[in-house]
Symmetry: none
Subunit: 164 residues, 4 copies
DNA sequence: GATGAATGAGCGTTCATTCAT
DNA sequence: CATGAATGAACGCTCATTCAT
């Protein structure tokens, strides 16, 4: 908190005018970043296109976003691996499908159309995003260089894992 | 550190006779757990069997290990997501292939045999283990129940992502 | 201060237009409450009645007031036990007898008439009000229930302590 | 806490080796002081002497103790007026009569022997100790000087309030 | 070699007060 | 005259590490 106040050029107490406490700050920042990511994903996303094409679009967009906004990505990832993130996911998984959840929609439709493997949603998520997140992390750390070609191949491979 | 000393039935200072500091302790514990996992994976692993079969064996073993040793898994994962883990991976990726690295061997052989997609090792790792780790975590958190059947289907799906 | 401003439906800074600082506010509020109490005590108080009767009147009134205005009482008491209260009492004891001070008048008259023990004013105060305050506090905390009968007996006991 | 550590010539964290937190420190210090006071009161206290004499002994001892240990007294008083003190008293009043409680014993015996007024214990306490505490405070603040003679007269007056 | 008391920088948070608007 | 955002010293507390015994 001290560091944030400092970077913001603001007194220690000022943060608490905008965020009740550290936890709230963390959660609100997460929500903002998530929305930013979501808005990015929705650019050029057409719900009427075939499942595969939509998946490729989303996967590519996610990877591109993470790669070009490494700070956002690092935050998102750290959040997911924190207790806050676990609570958030629990709510998401066991709660109602909210508007914003394109992935869930896509997967459910894909399963219904028998294009995607008939596996629990949680597993489909893992197959689709597990590799992407890992790959994004490794790119940022300089372990691979994900150029456009490689991004395409990676997403395609994810699709191979998903498709029937 | 205090808690560890306590659980060990030892004075707080005693830890420092065995580990220079917290960082070293964390790293050594990691190495021990990694070896334990490795030993587990190698049970019934035959380097002469076909690539696919070997992959299925390894994937299944990893998943089973993580699920039945959730404390080990939690530690391994937390380590990977920490600064310590990043340093460790950097060393592994840019260092020589060490003895212990079955995955690398397997993937390199698979690529050579044109059974596995021709992608950078790092990406192949991501495709293979990204989903497994995610799925293990979700199982432990109670988001899915990974029974033997589901484990099999999940590994098979990973293979679909990997194979040419 | 923030809470007071809030309850007053006023900006945080506005308080400082009416009270120089917290200390002044506390003191002025005390004075207001003291006056309120005083006004209550004076209802039906006749300076010509005998000492004893006047004491009974005052004691009963104090006790009744404290019991039916627990918030006022809590404030008065907290003030007395605070550094502010000490300063206030010092001024009162070593200053001139101000108009408002019926107790002092009563005790001095009582001593002069040889009805009340010949003890320093401060001690007489203690004998008269020490028990009352304690008893009021205990009533509010639920440690006794001071009904009318018990109030009467308690004041009478105080008088026994005071009288020659 | 910082101030205590400082006065103790000790680092900030050291306190927490001896007291779990501020609350515990406060309560333990209170108990120590209370015991000290109790030990002082019991010097020369004979349970077989008449009620009045025993009360005089106790009252005198309390007053003398408070006057000669003003720091102890200030602490005891502040404690009583704090939330911690209220909890403590509630436990004492509604709990079993513990060994240490000479006052209660004395009052109950006095009531039984019809030497002391038949009033609730809480009120008897108020009549006996309300004035003493007030008077001790005023002595320490320099509002009266309680010499031996005045102490005697004050205790006697308290007895007058108590006795039948 | 083992101990555990001591350390102190750092944590997240509060709150009386100020001052530009 | 009123506002309320900003302040920053101070709070209670933690914890990796040290060092005299």
């Amino acid at each position: 908190m001290a560091m944030i106040a400092d970077k913001a050029g603001v007194g220690a107490g000022t943060i608490y005018r905008y965020f009740e406490n550290k936890e709230v700050l963390i959660n609100e920042l997460y929500q903002e970043l998530e929305q930013r990511l979501y808005a990015y994903l929705m650019q050029g996303y057409y719900p009427d296109k075939p499942i595969r094409e939509r998946f490729i679009h989303l996967g590519t967009a996610i990877l591109r976003y993470c790669i070009s906004n490494p700070l956002d990505f690092r935050y998102l990832e750290q959040f997911h691996n924190s207790p806050y993130g676990v609570v958030h996911r629990r709510d998401k998984i066991f709660g109602e499908a909210d508007e914003q959840d394109v992935y869930r929609e896509l997967f459910e439709e894909g399963v219904a159309q028998q294009v995607i493997k008939e596996l629990p949603l949680v597993v489909l998520f893992a197959l689709a995003f597990g590799p992407l997140i890992t790959v994004a992390r490794d790119h940022i750390l300089g372990f691979v260089i994900m150029d456009e070609a490689l991004i395409g191949l990676t997403i395609a491979a994810c699709w191979d894992g998903l498709k029937r």
